[in-house]
């Protein structure tokens, strides 16, 4: 592997990492302002750096002020806590979520001269399995955070979190099997390419048209996996203070928060890739727009690539917004309801979805 290839790979990895981190930070602001909008409040409006900013720059202020505040806070390790594991847990929570995006394609191919750059960090033929593997490791941050803090609330939160994440992982995996059967591959880039044509020349052949139920199950399980309202029982402020991260402060607590936001970005990214045509723009092909009716608008290659990346980003962002909307609309479930939903409704539904998909594939060839 030449130096250029290594450089390109590095740039791609950095770009994806920054995309997830930036989206998470923006989501943090959107969440604060969005919740305010929904609840008829004003929301975050006090950030004014050192009091010397002549005007409020809105979200930029908050984006800088929030991390600064968290960075400068005291880091408290409770008495009797397992110091090493207490330190390790936030990293275990963030790391798997951030590396998940490596397998998600954010564009087709960028051709510069003779070099073809795949707009995907890791071109894996088992992409979906990689994603599932990494997301299954995310549970350790919760478990370790809950156990190492030497606090009952933390432990209860950790136990709730791990039980919930394992339960919904099963429904999520089974919902994905329907998608895998439809497209016949585990490769996320191949799935993205397979969504490029149109039904009757007008309806984009996105995954959601083949797998509407699969999408619903995936989204619910995904929200449950990211431990957000209505599934935020592991946090459960009303009875567990803050659940598994009760005993965390400053940047470590921020790491847990970041992992939750990054997880919703990952869920949105996966849902986009599998169900909403990934980076596909309707009617946009490799040489330009082919509108129904035969009109063709040729476009330069670079513009098409930019539009694909933009399309992917916008879809991810819209799905993130939808998750925030859900979060501030629904009340929290009771814990037994969470378990019932996962095991008694989503799991059988996902199995039925698999069966119907299989029958449809056999009948329709």
């Amino acid at each position: 592997m030449g130096l250029i290839e290594v450089g390109i790979a590095g740039v791609k990895a950095l770009a994806v990492l920054l995309m997830v981190l930036n989206l998470s930070a923006i989501l943090l602001w959107v969440e604060r302002k969005g919740s305010a909008l929904i609840q008829d409040r004003i929301g975050a409006n006090r950030a004014n750096i050192l009091g010397i900013m002549p005007f409020n720059l809105g979200f930029i202020n908050t984006l800088i002020a929030d991390p600064l505040k968290l960075l400068t806070k005291e880091d408290v390790v409770p008495k009797g806590a397992d110091k090493f594991l207490h330190f390790l847990a936030p990293f275990m929570a963030v790391f798997p979520v951030l590396v998940t995006f490596a397998a998600v394609p954010f564009g087709d191919q960028l051709v510069i001269g003779d070099t073809v750059i795949n707009l995907q960090v890791a071109d894996l033929d088992i992409g979906i399995l990689y994603v599932l593997a990494m997301s299954s490791l995310a549970v350790y941050g919760v478990v370790l955070g809950g156990w190492a803090s030497n606090s009952r609330w933390s432990l209860l939160g950790g136990i709730r979190g791990s039980a919930q994440m394992i339960s919904y992982e099963i429904a999520m995996g089974l919902a994905l099997i329907g998608v895998i059967m439809t497209f016949g591959t585990l490769d996320l880039q191949a799935i993205a390419r397979a969504q490029g044509h149109h039904f009757f020349g007008v309806i984009p052949a996105w995954g959601i048209i083949y797998q509407p139920l699969g999408f619903l199950i995936f989204l619910i399980a995904g929200i449950a996996e990211s431990k957000r309202v209505p599934f935020d029982l592991p946090e459960g402020e009303s009875e567990l203070i803050s659940g598994y991260f009760t005993e965390y402060s400053g940047m470590k607590q921020a790491a847990f928060m970041l992992s939750d936001f990054a997880e919703s970005v990952v869920v949105a990214g996966l849902a986009t890739t599998l169900f909403f045509g990934a980076w596909q723009v309707p009617f946009l092909f490799r040489d330009g727009f082919h509108f129904p009716g035969g009109a063709i608008v040729a476009l330069p290659h670079l513009l098409i690539v930019v539009m694909q990346i933009l399309s992917f980003t916008i879809k991810v962002f819209v799905l993130c917004l939808f998750q925030i909307l859900v979060r501030w609309t629904l009340p929290r479930y009771r814990y037994d309801q969470v378990m019932d939903l996962g095991w008694k409704y989503l799991l059988p539904l996902a199995l039925a979805n698999m069966l119907v998909t299989g029958v449809a594939i056999v009948l329709l060839g």
């Binding site: 594991l85 894996l124 033929d125 088992i126 399995l129 990689y130 599932l132 593997a133 990494m134 299954s136 490791l137 549970v139 350790y140 478990v143 370790l144 156990w147 432990l155 950790g158 136990i159 791990s162 039980a163 394992i166 992982e169 585990l186």
Partner: protein, 170 residues
Amino acid sequence: MGTILFLVLAVLTIAAALGVILHPNPVKSALFLIVTLFLLAVVFVLLEAHMIAALQIIVYAGAIMVLFLFVIMLLNLQIDDPDRGRRQVVLRGLAWLGGIILAVELALLVRGGPAGNPAAAPAGYGGALAVAQSLYTDFLLPFELTSILLLVAVVGAVVLAQKQRRPTIS
């Protein structure tokens, strides 16, 4: 490059495996086991067996070990068993016996196994397609039997976990 990577991984894996049996704290032991399983998955990736690597992490590191940790954390092991001393001697003996048998089996396997060159395997032999093809053709019967076994285990677990319906004393 590949050999150096493998050697580093091998040393780390063995160190983590030693951690499993030598660490006095059961929770830490379980964590070492997770590290061992994760590193083994990386070894599989080095061997181009991507499918097995992913499954190793999903099934062992990501699901089974979580339950292990769960149980260990919940049980909060007590050490005030009067029979503990005598039992431990027996257990140690059994563990040594099992370990020696395993070591002998491994040695025999390595000596009697195919003098294989792993690099000679066909391209893509570790991918999803190749694994699925051999599972659903050559190994269909063992595969289905295993799934029946697992199904029975699931049913058994459900039966065991059911709340006991005792007659209520009024």
